[in-house]
């Protein structure tokens, strides 16, 4: 397994930040998730939380760190002993999206700006398979990698004060789904009837870092049907298990 040169930095009195090279890369993601997995299984008693983003892991301890050197050496030792994330189970999720212009309120403007017809925007967006890098920004907001370059577009200069729940949007080189009503500066191309965050569940978000996401287009009628099933709590998402 390829080893990266990591940086270990104290972050406040109880946390250590581990950083990989500063780029968004699936090999880095795999290594981040392998190390995270190793840390979570290491049973080091005073670690209270381990969380990850694109190229970093933040480890929070229960007590003030007296000796950063000791903590860092333990982490370095665990990094060299990390197990490949191939042993973890990941899921591939198929997410329905209605790209009707009634939902995709920025589709027309985007088609003009990018000189890509609306049908092609939908095609490019729903043909890709995206990787979940981590969840952040809002509860249940997935940071997805893998957007087709033809759809990269700078964020809006003035963010909208209210973006609808389920809005599927593009900002810069990223795409995502707003799990709840929120302000937002991304270009809205559709809406998904799926709930990305359920505060009543022990696992409030079905997806996790390392999973794959695929979007597929549905009609307005189908959208209403699925929405009704989701609201009744009986909708079953399409998914399959993938390894590695």
């Amino acid at each position: 397994m390829r080893a990266f040169k990591l940086k270990y930095k104290p972050f406040g009195e109880r946390s250590i930040l581990v950083e990989w090279p500063s780029e968004i890369d699936k090999y880095i993601l795999n290594d981040v998730l392998s190390f995270k997995n190793t840390l979570q299984k290491s049973l080091i008693e005073d670690i209270v939380e381990v969380k990850s983003a694109y190229n970093s892991i933040l480890i929070t301890y229960q007590f003030t760190i007296d000796n950063v050197y000791n903590k860092t050496s333990t982490l370095k030792r665990l990094y060299s002993a990390r197990v490949s994330k191939n042993k973890c189970v990941f899921m591939h999720w198929r997410i329905p999206v209605c790209y009707d212009v009634a939902f995709g309120i920025d589709l027309e403007a985007m088609a003009v700006k990018k000189k890509v017809p609306i049908d092609d925007i939908i095609k490019h967006h729903s043909q890709a398979i995206y990787t979940v890098y981590f969840i952040g920004f809002l509860p249940g907001f997935l940071y997805l990698g893998g957007l087709n370059e033809k759809l990269h577009i700078p964020r809006k200069v003035t963010p909208r004060l209210k973006v609808e729940k389920g809005a599927v949007a593009i900002g810069g080189n990223q795409t995502g789904v707003y799990p709840n009503v929120s302000p937002g500066g991304w270009h809205i191309i559709g809406n998904s009837p799926i709930s990305f965050f359920n505060n009543k569940k022990e696992n409030p978000c079905f997806a996790k870092a390392g999973d794959k996401i695929e979007f597929y287009a549905i009609s307005k009628e189908k959208y209403d049907n699925i929405k009704a099933l989701v609201d009744a709590g009986v909708y079953q998402l399409e998914s399959e298990v993938i390894y590695g």
């Binding site: 930095k9 104290p10 972050f11 406040g12 009195e13 109880r14 946390s15 930040l17 950083e19 500063s22 780029e23 968004i24 209270v48 939380e49 969380k51 990850s52 983003a53 694109y54 190229n55 970093s56 892991i57 933040l58 929070t60 981590f134 969840i135 952040g136 920004f137 809002l138 509860p139 249940g140 907001f141 940071y143 709840n180 965050f197 505060n199 009543k200 696992n203 409030p204 978000c205 996790k208 870092a209």
Partner: protein, 282 residues
């Protein structure tokens, strides 16, 4: 229960917050000033994580429907029991029908009202801390009935008052560590960060405190990374944003400083126009 006759400007139920849900993008939340909140619970013999009322700037008017004990700590908002002033940092016995209200804000910004056994409002993801989208309500409202329990014991030490260090409310010193991107600043910028007297802008909330002064910089955004309450972010336009308890779990601005945890408590008692300066923690 406790009936909310009027809610005040912004009062919320808080405990020590949600941990272990950050990987789903869920903020920690929890009391802004842990020092004052823990004191309020300790006075009553409560668990440190029992839910209490965090009161911001102006107080609510509350009516009690059972005999119990309360304690009020943090900001001094001239608390009263049936229109007679009562002591802060002290156990107060309340009886059925009693009304607790507040007057003028004299010091600090956030007060804590703890009740024997804690408030028993909605618990979501192992915490009662209110947060929009996680709990059904994000603040208490006029007419709410806040569930409580009968006090489990009679408190004998009712006359004890705890002496609180007034520096907690008056000190301008905010102790900091270097943040992960501190070294990307020029020496001059680093020096400015530690020597400037900053003031709290009107953009201050449970999520973040933005400072009014600008620190010119040409730092590039970082690849979205993890943040913690107490992180000081520097935006391309030079705004310094100190993240607080309700902050997002990740962010893309360079993190130039990190507050000492006790300094988050101190900052929580500041509001618009107050001055602070950063000092290295030893």
């Amino acid at each position: 229960m406790v009936k909310v006759i009027t809610s005040g400007f912004f009062s919320t139920i808080q405990d020590l917050g949600r941990i272990n849900n950050q990987e789903y993008g869920v903020p920690y939340s929890g009391v802004m000033d842990r020092y004052s909140a823990k004191l309020a619970n300790a006075l009553l013999g409560n668990d440190m994580n029992d839910a209490l009322l965090e009161i911001t700037m102006t107080g609510p008017t509350l009516q009690f429907n059972l005999d119990t004990y309360i304690s009020i700590t943090g900001a001094d908002i001239s608390p009263m029991l049936n229109n007679n002033s009562i002591k802060q940092n002290h156990v107060t016995k309340v009886s059925i029908g009693d009304i607790v209200s507040f007057g003028k804000l004299k010091s600090g910004f956030r007060a804590y009202l703890a009740i024997s056994g804690g408030f028993k409002t909605e618990k979501t993801m192992h915490s009662r801390s209110m947060y929009n989208g996680i709990t059904n309500e994000f603040k208490i409202n006029n007419g709410d009935a806040l569930p409580i329990e009968n006090p489990s014991m009679v408190i004998a030490e009712i006359n004890a008052t705890i002496k609180v260090n007034t520096k907690h409310f008056t000190s301008k010193i905010i102790e900091v560590y270097k943040g992960p991107e501190f070294e990307l600043l020029t020496e001059k910028q680093q020096e400015q960060l530690l020597s400037t007297e900053f003031s709290i802008s009107k953009d201050n909330s449970r999520m973040a405190y933005q400072l009014a002064e600008i620190l010119e910089n040409d730092l590039k955004p970082i690849i979205t990374s993890l943040v913690l309450p107490g992180a000081v972010q520097l935006t391309p336009s030079g705004n310094l944003i100190v993240l607080m308890r309700d902050c997002q779990t990740t962010g893309g601005y360079p993190r130039v400083l990190q507050l000492r945890e006790a300094s988050i408590d101190v900052l929580s008692q500041k509001f618009t126009g107050d001055k602070i300066h950063f000092e290295w923690t030893e």
